[in-house]
């Protein structure tokens, strides 16, 4: 109970205050350990393949993160409605992964659009690790 309260407090404070990508990774690490006791850290390489991996959507279309974000996360992407998406890599866009609520909102939407399911904490962490590491 006490542990839960502390976790809740942690989540709340991270959600309200501006975060750093490292803080978000810590948060996802805590979740990943709960999801999988054998968790052994995040991998930028796994994140990179996740970013490019194509899935055949139930509509028959092939989709991936890079469909909208382009294969190079330092580039601007484009939504299906022709709107520019600022780069995902923190080196090109330091605003990325500094707002926990925003990050969760977009994982929530885009995982369902691309994978047709929610992402695991492992996948989210790998993804952020990759985009933080891109030079």
């Amino acid at each position: 109970m006490r542990k839960n309260m502390m976790l809740l407090g942690l989540l709340f404070s991270v959600n309200v205050l501006a975060a750093t990508p490292q803080e978000l990774l810590k948060q996802y690490e805590t979740q990943a350990k709960q999801e999988n006791p054998a968790f052994s850290g995040f991998s930028a390489d796994r994140g990179a393949s996740f970013f490019k991996a194509e899935h055949v959507h139930s509509t028959g279309q092939k989709v991936s993160c890079s469909t909208c974000h382009t294969a190079d996360p330092r580039n601007q992407g484009k939504t299906r409605a022709n709107k520019v998406i600022e780069p995902m890599a923190t080196i090109a866009n330091p605003q990325r992964f500094t707002d926990a609520a925003k990050v969760e909102k977009w994982f929530g939407r885009n995982c369902k659009d691309v994978l047709e399911r929610a992402c695991t904490a492992q996948e989210k962490g790998d993804y952020i690790q990759y985009l933080v590491n891109v030079k």
Partner: protein, 171 residues
């Protein structure tokens, strides 16, 4: 008798002038430009994937339907937390086409059959009649994308200004 008539004319002109002034103050005086209403959450959330559509482009029933199906928003998941969704819905509904007195909102609203609840502005009879000279291949140009991208040709679309003088169709 004559004096009585003069008085009547005076009274009626005063009332109509004040009515005109009142409507002008509230909603742009029945002009063609939509009232440029704004709401911070609407602006931030509704323009991250597509151009910002003014509430006066669709009737209340369309906005209600749109906002209650955000998990399947034109084939994409655009879910919002409940508080944000409710605030934006309230804003859209309060300023919807049937509540605006500008001519364009009125015409859009009148062109929609009572039993229809369109989600696409481009499906309304008003839109179709206004764009009947634009070919499908023009809409499909890379610089435009689709009929949903008003701003590609109407550069002041996000402010609700679709006037002829603001149109430039890109190559």
């Amino acid at each position: 008798m004559k004096k009585w008539m003069q008085f009547l004319v005076l009274i009626s002109s005063i009332t109509s002038t004040s009515a005109l002034l009142a409507s002008g103050g509230i909603d742009g005086g029945g002009g063609n430009t939509m009232t440029s209403v704004t709401n911070a959450k609407w602006k931030a959330e509704c323009s991250s994937c597509h151009m910002l559509y003014q509430p006066g482009l669709l009737p209340e029933r369309s906005w209600n339907k749109m906002m209650s199906g955000l998990d399947k928003h034109f084939g994409e998941n655009a879910s919002l937390d409940a508080a944000t969704r409710d605030e934006i819905t309230h804003f859209l509904v309060t300023n919807s086409a049937e509540k605006s007195t500008n001519r364009r909102s009125n015409r859009i609203n009148q062109s929609i059959p009572a039993n229809a609840t369109p989600l696409r502005i481009s499906e309304t009879r008003y839109f179709m009649s206004k764009h009947d000279e634009v070919s499908p291949s023009t809409f499909q140009r890379k610089s435009i994308g689709s009929a949903a991208n008003c701003i590609a040709c109407h550069k002041s679309a996000e402010k609700g200004d679709f006037s002829e003088s603001q149109i430039r169709i890109p190559r």
